[in-house]
């Protein structure tokens, strides 16, 4: 329990279980981090808060719509006030609006880009000053293999995730001298609540998804969280501006 000992970390989109944010919260708590967890789902977030408090972790739970610039500043300020600094930000919150290009409305487009890209920009922009004041830090931005490979019905989602990838590199370059690292993480097919919805809607089609993956199965959220942990920790102290693919080999071919 030492890889994140006393590191102060904000994780967005932390309430959905099973989900990448929830699993990251659990993993960070196991490793001794002080946690600020945010989500728009306060019922789910309260359950997560209760669970990790029982584990002995110090935690601050805050309602946050990640597209709200003012709320970002409030979350950062509350983090510094409560724990005395900021070491790690995991920009995890996101949604998936998946449909053919012809069916996208402007509202669909704006929502997808706001929640999955503009929010990440805001998070990085607001977190960096607090990290500089703390002597440096690590930002892990949740992208996707959809930002690296074209797929049908994934256009705007993929555009946003590709934007996260290049944004992460820009943050890395602009703030390397400040001791702030920034990397993107690219999950493939992972068993989360989003996949549970897909399984309910199309069980036969969903069952075939795992066969597309060279490892022969979908990934677990914990397998993504472990890689977030690596990038966030000092073990990755020379890794910045990079992308880590966690997809069971899906896009290696």
């Amino acid at each position: 329990m030492s890889r994140m000992l006393n590191k102060i970390a904000i994780i967005t989109g932390a309430a959905s279980n099973p989900g990448l944010g929830y699993s990251t919260v659990m993993r960070f708590a196991e490793e001794g981090a002080k946690l600020v967890i945010t989500d728009i789902d306060m019922v789910g977030l309260a359950a997560v808060e209760k669970e990790i408090t029982a584990m002995g972790a110090e935690v601050l739970a805050m309602e946050q719509n990640v597209v709200d610039e003012q709320r970002w500043q409030e979350v950062i300020d509350a983090t510094v006030e409560r724990f005395g600094g900021l070491d790690v930000l995991v920009n995890n919150a996101g949604i998936a609006v998946l449909k053919p290009i012809n069916e996208y409305t402007q509202a669909d487009y704006n929502l997808q880009m706001d929640v999955n890209l503009r929010s990440v920009f805001l998070g990085c922009q607001k977190a960096v000053p607090a990290m500089k004041d703390s002597g440096g830090g690590s930002i892990v931005n949740m992208s996707s293999v959809a930002g690296m490979r074209a797929m049908a019905a994934v256009s705007v989602y993929g555009m946003a995730k590709a934007g996260v990838q290049i944004l992460s590199k820009c943050v890395a370059i602009e703030h390397a001298a400040d001791g702030v690292r920034c990397n993107s993480l690219h999950p493939g097919l992972i068993e989360t609540n989003i996949q549970n919805d897909a399984r309910r809607d199309n069980p036969e089609g969903h069952a075939q998804l795992g066969t597309m993956v060279p490892l022969g199965r979908m990934g677990n959220p914990e397998e993504v969280a472990n890689c977030v942990l690596f990038l966030a920790s000092d073990e990755a102290s020379y890794v910045t501006g990079a992308e880590l693919v966690v997809d069971g080999g899906l896009i290696a071919g």
Binding site: G188, P214, N226, C227, F230, V239, T240, A242, V246, G249
Partner: protein, 58 residues
Amino acid sequence: MAIDFTDQVVLVTGAGAGAGLGYSCAVAFANGVISLASDLSSFSTGSLLEVDGGWNAI
């Protein structure tokens, strides 16, 4: 929490130079802090990870 390499057999080549990557990997394995070789990265394969301080991000 160190990563548990109990009963895992690890081959590290080029491990002789004291300031080299192989030597450092061997030491890291002994200390249990290698993420990519461990089960922590159990769903990551066929991927590349740059460890360059941001050199290739430009």
